[in-house]
Symmetry: C2
Subunit: 355 residues, 2 copies
């Protein structure tokens, strides 16, 4: 089995280093191959997703991804910006199913913006469709407005679209995930305004008939944004489109107060997957050795479970992470009075020791 | 001056009754004319926005709106559903500028999901563009996918679009509002993915050059959804498109914990406006006399200030509302130990008395 390791920009290298250490101590007989991605790949090769990186990613069974992005690339033309690498990987590998757990670890409840009773024990799973919707819909661009009140004026436009099979497959993913959890799916749409999401709602409802053992609710996206704040624990699995999922998964992650702890997986139909922390490249703290590597380490665990079929190894990582939290070790982002502040490397070493 | 009063469905009638009482006691020499809207208008006239209602709304200087919607209309074809009334009013009257304050009243800080120190004194203003974007963009519909990976499959689609003058005018509204506040505008976009919002960002930046005294920041919508949770007080004025504004304004409202207190205004270029509470029609408590009328009463105050040029009367309402809160009166939604629970009518009477 081969893992493509793409550390990327900012804190990417530091946090991926720790996840690699953890994988190595598990002695899994997997081959790790490193490649350039994001802004640093643009600097070296003139493109954020070089041919060689894409080739490796396609061949590999899984991709362990750090983070991409830095202010210094903001002025580049869009096609050369670091985030195009991640969009390119999603599109080229067909990674349509994004798993974004929002979990509040017992020891970190206090780190949330929310009152502890609202988030204690929180465990929701947001499933975001990742290769369709307005992210990739054609046509898009700039033009003179062809009609409407501002006909003739300069305008920009994008196309939101979903085809039946795209909705069906992500709905199946959500219902199947719910079966392993609390058997409740909330499908988030904007059926009261958008044709695309009326269709989404219709198709998810149809697919739901095959899962009589799973409760299906529908919620408008504006209401979902509210209910996440009001009573996050009322959700189990949330399934939604690419654009709404972008917003809601980040909102939910921030509600936990410990986004530095949250992994993510993006899978295709062959269970090939890209695994990355939910947080970004944090250029402001890059190179300082203070970033939290746990989201990346937990992403490696998800990788072992989903793409490499090694659930026992995944369990070992996850319980080691709980152990180090119980030992009171904390990186700066989750530190609080009475716990011990450690750096990136020390945290990784502690996980290795706990394994 | 004429005010069109459209109570609508659910708790609409009850809460609008109280706002009308408040307007009457101010003795303003305005004429109030009532009309049907929403589901009850569909029941009576076969359309949620009957001709007569639209005509009245167009003639009036301002519209005082309650709420629309009820589960029982969910099965209707989209064009007959209650919310089409509100979309129809926005479009027909050109109400492009939606003001959604998210304010945390001192006495209600505890009602928030967030820790008190994060929301105490919160006062942000979300300005949402309300007549463009994917809400109204053509073309839209269902079809066989014309291209892409699912060519030929059934699909649904919508068009996101913004023309330069649409972005310019809402940007001016935001910068001018910021001048009366803390001189900071955060423009929320998704320029890293969407053509429409790269253009949005470019045009807002250009307009911003005319407001050297206002600080302009740009933030991606996913990040904005997070920062609202993490540090809501870091915002002053937020300006964004129709779809993102729908989500973020509701998220921000819920953060305050007292959505029953939050008014809104939707204005056109002639300062004609529609004023309504930020909350919905709450069919579950309709007719019980327990709904909070304060958001509607405060919407009437916004109406006096923005559309009827009676700022002194607006001030009187707003300070009366603060008075009743200080007296310890609370409707059920904002009640807490040690305060006195009152019904809709009693709350309205108390505001009248305080005036
Ligand atoms: C970087 C950006 C294109 C990306 C997205 O919008 O999908 C990011 O926000 C994410 O959620 O992974
Ligand atoms: C009812 C619905 C069409 C409406 C919207 O999406 O604009 C509502 O959510 C709002 O924010 O006023």
């Amino acid at each position: 089995m081969k893992i493509a390791v793409l550390p990327g920009d900012g804190i990417g290298t530091e946090i991926v280093d720790e996840a690699v250490k953890v994988l190595e101590v598990l002695d899994l007989k997997v081959e790790l191959e490193f490649a350039d991605v994001g802004g640093m790949a643009y600097d070296k090769h003139g493109h954020p997703l070089p041919e060689a990186t894409l080739k490796l990613a396609k061949e590999a069974d899984a991709i362990l991804f750090g983070a991409v992005g830095d202010w210094k690339y903001d002025k580049l033309e869009r096609q050369f910006r670091p985030e195009q690498a991640i969009l390119g990987l999603r599109r080229n590998l067909g990674l349509f199913a994004n798993f974004r757990p929002a979990i509040c670890y017992e020891q970190l409840t206090h780190a949330s913006s929310l009152k502890p009773e609202l988030v204690a024990g929180l465990d929701i799973l947001i499933i975001r469709e990742l290769t369709g919707d307005i992210y990739f819909g054609q046509p898009r661009g700039r033009r003179a407005a062809p009609d409407g009140a501002f006909q003739g004026a300069e305008e920009a436009f994008d196309t939101m679209r979903y085809a039946r099979p795209e909705i069906e497959r992500i709905a199946h993913v959500a219902f199947q995930a719910a079966r392993k959890r609390n058997r409740k799916v909330t499908s988030v749409d904007k059926a009261n305004v958008l044709e695309t999401f009326q269709f989404w709602k219709d198709v998810v409802t149809e697919v739901g008939q095959q899962y009589a053992d799973v409760k299906l609710d529908h919620m408008y996206v504006d209401n979902a944004a509210m209910q996440l704040v009001k009573s996050p624990k009322s959700f189990d699995v949330v399934v939604t489109g690419n654009m709404f999922g972008d917003i809601l998964s980040d909102e939910a992650a921030m509600l936990t107060g410990s986004i530095g702890m949250l992994p993510s997986a993006s899978l295709n139909a062959a269970n090939q997957g890209l695994y990355e922390p939910s947080h970004g490249s944090a250029p402001d703290i890059a190179g300082k050795g203070v970033a939290n590597p746990l989201a990346t380490i937990l992403s490696a665990a998800m990788m072992l479970r989903f793409s490499l079929n090694q659930p026992a190894a995944a369990d070992r990582i996850e319980s080691a992470v709980k152990d180090v939290l119980s030992q009171g070790l904390r990186t700066a982002d989750i530190w609080s009075e009475g716990t011990r502040k450690v750096g990136t490397r020390e945290m990784g070493d502690a996980v290795v020791a706990a394994i």
